[in-house]
Amino acid sequence: MIKYNQIELMICVAARNLEDGATVVVGTGAPCAAAMLAQKTHSPNLCILFEAGGVAPNLPAMPISVGDSRTFHQAIMASSMPEIMETCQRGMIDYTFLGGAQVDMYGNINSTMIGPDHSKPLVRFPGSGGANDLASLCWRTMMMTIQDAKRFTNDIDFITSPGYLQGGNSRYEAGLPRGTGPYRIITNMAIMGFDDTTKRMKVLSVNPGYTRKDVQNNCGFELIWADSIAETHEPDEDELRILRGKVDPDRYIIGR
């Protein structure tokens, strides 16, 4: 059996969701690695965009900022933030990845603050950045995160970026573009999607080494389950070879 760590697994799973010819806005770190891995395996024509303006660069190294030189190195375009965000708003961007301190059962994400009083936060995080925009405007939002019951909670202190809001049709009633929303939550323990009707988070597969019980115990709300739960497909040798050798040879991300 091949050895891999949990971040490597999450990156490989994320990469598989990015089909050839799709567009994806990524941040730094694991999402960027996932998109690069997809390009170097099954999706050579995956178009990677960065919110500060970079479009389809030949990435020479892992970017340290979503606006640094790497994000438009030999790129198709070095444009602007409005250009990227309006491309999302027009419906041309298929995927994005977000992170956050908390996520609830409808895929709503908090990256703003912890505490009961917004004007005097107990813990202040950076805020939305482009997250609210990408979650609102791209077709499918994905999240890669370590799973624990504090992070996966319905007692979310602040909804920074919209998931399915209060579930059901509430996202579209709020005015957000039809057909958009959270698509996959990829954790160290499982892969989740969302129920078509209720929009509740739904486990699709459980990662090797974890049980259904682990997944539920490390989640602060009740998960629902797909009719048939497969075991998540492990990273294969090719994926790991390319991820380790070509995507992140310095182990900046997979070494964390």
Partner: protein
């Protein structure tokens, strides 16, 4: 294409508003009154950081900073703002990272429009910036990167608002100052984002002429709009170029002269930030800030030495490695091995 026939009912009663404070006046006519008398003359505008911060920035003003936090930032102007102890500023926190660190170190602003603050992206969070925001001394209103971009764009277009399809349904909206509106054609709900006309903007560019006609290479972020939206605009530039170079390639002009009030030539002016195609960010130095910030006393000493202790940007560069360091950062940027 069929024409839209459906009758629209404007359900104004149900439209929500963000509850936080709007720090600037979005009124387009008020901005026009200013722009009516702003000089459009094609005259030389060379100045110094001391002069521009003294002449164009006043306590209580609202400021916008070009670039992207630690990329193409006007570091010399940021240093001078805290050197001149400007206070009670409003600040557009539009992916502000190292710029935020500097201004937070001087406690220069007490009103902040937030899209992205207190972090340095993949580098981690800034302890001092967090202390400042968590102290409650700063009035904050929440937005997002696109929202601040569009608020600046609304101003650049001479409007008081722009419609958009983000923020809806979230607490980011609740603690913003945006308002829901209804599209009169489709009946769809939109967000109206209020125009942001800053009093002062500083933008670092690759090259410009003495009149302020500027070229920016790489991602422009929101700087073309920021230059138009702001009442006073100061450029720092890696180098001054002859106007002929602007006129040889008029489709490449990023910022035209009439937006610009002053120009200061500052080689390596984005240090410790990245300047695309010129030099990479000094990651070691940025890590040092993040580490020293953990201890407020040490951090104060550090700032005293780095900013108050250096009389200008040349001294600051010298203190941090001078030309030899710059050569190293060029090698990283241009992806060649340093000899």
């Amino acid at each position: 294409m069929t024409m839209l026939k459906k009758k629209i009912t404007n359900k104004d009663g149900n439209l929500k508003s963000g509850q936080n404070e709007l720090f600037t006046n979005p009124d387009a006519d008020a901005a026009r009154e200013f722009f009516r008398t702003k000089s459009r003359a094609l005259k030389p505008k060379l100045s110094t950081v001391e002069e521009v911060v003294k002449n164009y920035l006043h306590d209580g003003d609202y400021i916008g900073i070009g670039g992207f936090g630690a990329i193409r930032i006007p570091t010399a102007i940021l240093h001078e703002i805290i050197r001149q102890k400007k206070k009670h500023l409003g600040f557009a926190g539009h992916t502000s990272t190292h710029d935020f660190q500097i201004l937070a170190a001087g406690e220069c602003f007490d009103k902040c429009d937030i899209a992205y603050i207190v972090g340095l992206e993949a580098r981690g969070l800034s302890p001092n910036s967090r202390r400042y925001i968590e102290s409650g001394k700063v009035k904050i209103t929440e937005w997002s990167n696109a929202t601040l971009s569009w608020r600046i764009k609304a101003a650049a277009m001479g409007l008081s608002f722009l419609p958009a399809r983000n923020l809806m349904g979230t607490d980011t909206f609740k603690y913003s100052a945006s308002k829901e509106i209804i599209c009169p054609f489709t009946g769809q709900k939109y967000m109206a984002h209020p125009a942001l006309y800053p009093d002062f903007a500083a933008i670092h560019v690759h090259e410009c002429d003495v009149y302020g006609n500027a070229h920016i290479y790489g991602a422009s972020v929101s700087d073309q709009d920021l230059a138009k939206a702001s009442r006073y605009v100061v450029l720092t530039t890696e180098k001054i170029i002859p106007t002929e170079k602007i006129r040889q390639n008029p489709e490449a002009t990023s910022i035209p002269f009439w937006c610009v009030d002053a120009v200061v030539e500052i080689p390596y002016g984005s240090y410790p930030g990245n300047m695309p195609y010129e030099y990479f960010s000094d990651e070691e130095y940025l890590r040092k800030w993040l580490t020293i910030e953990k201890d407020p006393t040490e951090f104060k000493k550090f700032i005293d030495k780095q900013i108050f202790g250096t009389k200008n940007f040349f001294e600051y560069l010298e203190l941090n490695g001078g030309m030899e360091k710059m050569k190293k950062l060029r090698a990283i940027e241009l992806l060649y091995d340093q000899k």
